[in-house]
């Protein structure tokens, strides 16, 4: 009965593994995104979050490949679907916005032509109708004078405006899922807020689900419903945003939260919490990949890689889950202290 009540996930990623000839980069990750919700994938550079996002649409760099697992979208496994079928899904079922608005538009085509292309590819619309749809889209993403802007080239647009054009292209065919890979990292702060607000508004208007790839915990707190923290190619914690910010459980998540310069902190009154070492120290280790940097690590942590365990009813992708072998132990100790 529970199955009937629960909205069906738009996308399910099951035990996805991605590798390069030099080694494995993503070691079996599992998550799901439900209709109309935003899932944030956070982590530092090199943790595999962008690879994961690209692999959903099979946009991996040529040397990388999917080693195993499934990416289920509308009952189809995108990891094995034919290229022809995949082309039908890209831009129509699932769209992607990239980090670099400066390089992701074609500089020799007008803005209009680039929006027009995707509409004509997926919808049966005449040229004239496609053009008026494109102009509507420019207006929807907040570009003034869309009729005039339609015939201009990307270099006429500022960074924030180009990102708006990218968004217009991405939402042109009402996708069910929008993947946004660091959509505001290259933009100024005041523009970041504008773009995130636009994305949130469109997500509601078009009832899309969104996978937000980011390293910015502030953006996660403000714009996401669920969050998965990645470290060295694995999800180490997955929770609803409320649970996560109320009390992240994994030592790495806690480290990330404590090392950010929070409200009201000043160097004269609070020293930042450091996470010792760097992500490179995870390479080649046998046990938990965070153990070399973990303040709570014990000998056992260097032995085996902990699996993601749920803390509550449900599955990994809809409840709070953490991959830390010390957690049970810490929890018991806290309870003991509370009783004592």
């Amino acid at each position: 009965m529970i199955l009937a009540q629960r909205p069906h996930p738009v996308l399910e990623v099951l035990d996805l593994r991605i590798g390069f000839p030099q080694g494995t980069a993503v070691h079996g990750i599992t998550f799901a995104i439900e209709q109309g919700t935003t899932m944030a994938l956070v982590g530092e550079s090199g943790c595999g979050k962008s690879l994961t996002a690209f692999s959903i649409l099979r946009l991996l760099p040529p040397t990388a490949s999917i080693l195993g697992g499934q990416v289920v979208f509308n009952g189809q496994d995108l990891a094995t679907v034919s290229s022809r079928e995949l082309r039908r899904i890209r831009g129509k079922g699932i769209s992607i916005i990239l980090q670099e608005p400066m390089t992701s538009l074609n500089p020799v085509l007008t803005i209009g032509a680039q929006i027009h292309e995707i509409i004509r590819r997926h919808e049966r619309l005449s040229r004239r109708k496609a053009k008026s749809r494109a102009i509507e889209l420019l207006d929807l993403v907040g570009i003034s004078e869309p009729h005039r802007r339609y015939d201009q080239f990307p270099h006429h647009f500022s960074g924030g405006m180009r990102q708006r054009v990218m968004i217009a292209i991405a939402v042109a065919c009402n996708p069910q899922l929008l993947i946004a890979d660091e959509p505001t990292t290259a933009l100024d702060v005041t523009i970041q807020a504008q773009v995130m607000e636009l994305l949130a508004r469109l997500r509601q208007q078009l009832s899309m689900a969104m996978l937000l790839i980011t390293h910015d915990l502030g953006a996660v707190a403000q714009w996401a419903d669920r969050v998965a923290v990645m470290y060295a190619g694995r999800i180490v914690e997955q929770a609803s945003v409320n649970e996560f910010f109320a009390g992240a459980k994994h030592p790495y998540s806690q480290g990330l939260l404590n090392s950010s310069v929070g409200d009201g902190a000043h160097y004269t009154n609070r020293r930042l919490t450091e996470i010792k070492g760097s992500i490179a120290s995870a390479a080649g280790a046998t046990g938990c990949s965070f153990a070399p940097r973990c303040p709570a690590a014990v000998a056992a942590c260097h032995g085996a890689q902990p699996a993601l365990e749920t803390f509550g009813p449900g599955t990994i992708s809809d409840t709070w889950s953490v991959a830390c072998s010390q957690l049970r132990f810490q929890k018991d100790r806290r309870d003991a202290v509370a009783v004592g």
Partner: protein, 310 residues
């Protein structure tokens, strides 16, 4: 007497007969042991200002007084003495270290150039600084590519500090780094300030970092300083509409406090000939803003603001 005082500084770039004043009449002071934060969006002139102060660029107008000596128009030879007092840490830890030099050479060169000819004395200074940045002595034999981004930024900081300067200009020193590494570098800069009695000009586009790190903050917009205040005042009582907008757009890692996109438009649309430079994006602009360019006014509490309405 402040360590550094800058008056009416103007730095211009000319290309194809067109002149852009990237820094357009900026005055500021930095006292000994003080951290001044400089924030603004890309293209506002904050990096140009930093480079002009260390005299990597020559200003077209204005005075830069360091320990009461005007260095604004000094030639390369006389600047050498100045560089012992003022050093710079750059944003990109990958591009700012020579990939063909060992770390030992990178740290040795400034000492040699600045006249420490005794090899033992140089060695002593290098070992001291490498200890401060928590790298082992063996690091001196290695090349920059053997280090991570955070470690490379430490080496860049060590290179700036090996001459024991009084003022260090840090141009976005943590923006290329991951969050967990940012905290390491910020803590290191705080420790070094205490140990060496440093003053910093800390340039960043990231308000939350500046909020943490600066004693006093300058906000720049299109080549001008629009607000200057001590850190507590700036966050509690921001006076310029641009500062207020910047503060409102920081996404806070506290739930339920959505950042507000108060500003429309972008800064890149050119500098208007008359009136306030911010008025096209300003939510509270009035008639007067179109005609009168507001000057930076001193306020009773020591802050300063360039706005007719503040």
């Amino acid at each position: 007497m402040p360590l550094l005082s800058v008056e009416n500084l103007r730095t211009s770039y000319t290309s194809r007969g067109h002149t852009l004043h990237a820094v357009d009449g900026v005055s500021l002071e930095i006292g000994e042991n003080e951290t001044v934060g400089l924030v603004g969006e890309s293209g506002c002139g904050k990096s140009t200002l930093g480079k002009t102060i260390v005299r990597l660029l020559r200003p077209s107008e204005g005075v830069i007084r360091l320990n009461d000596q005007d260095i604004s128009q000094l030639g390369e030879r006389s600047l050498r003495a100045v560089r012992r007092t003022v050093q710079m840490v750059f944003q990109d830890p990958f591009g700012s270290l020579n990939p063909r030099q060992r770390v030992g050479t990178i740290l040795d060169t400034p000492l040699w150039v600045h006249g420490v000819k005794d090899a033992k004395a140089r060695r002593r200074r290098i070992l001291e600084i490498i200890g401060k940045i928590s790298l082992p002595e063996a690091a001196l034999q290695r090349y920059p590519h053997e280090f991570s981004g955070g470690q490379r930024q430490r080496i860049g900081i060590a290179r700036a500090l090996v001459l024991r300067p009084k003022l260090v200009v840090c141009d976005e020193p943590v923006s290329a780094l991951d969050l967990s590494i940012q905290a390491q570098i910020l803590n290191l800069l705080v420790d070094l300030k205490k140990d060496f009695g440093l003053a910093y000009l800390f340039i960043s586009h990231d308000l939350s970092v500046v909020r943490y790190f600066a004693d006093r903050v300058l906000v720049m917009y299109l080549g001008r300083v629009v607000e200057s205040a001590d850190h507590a005042t700036l966050w509690r009582n921001p006076r310029h509409p641009y500062t207020r907008a910047l503060l409102a757009s920081i996404p806070s890692a506290t739930l339920g406090r959505k950042p507000a996109a108060v500003l429309s438009g972008e800064a890149g649309q050119g500098i208007p000939e008359r009136g306030c430079r911010f008025r096209a994006r300003c939510p509270v602009a009035v008639k007067q803003c179109e005609t009168d360019d507001p000057a930076l006014r001193k306020l009773p509490d020591g802050s300063a603001v360039a706005c007719h309405l503040a």
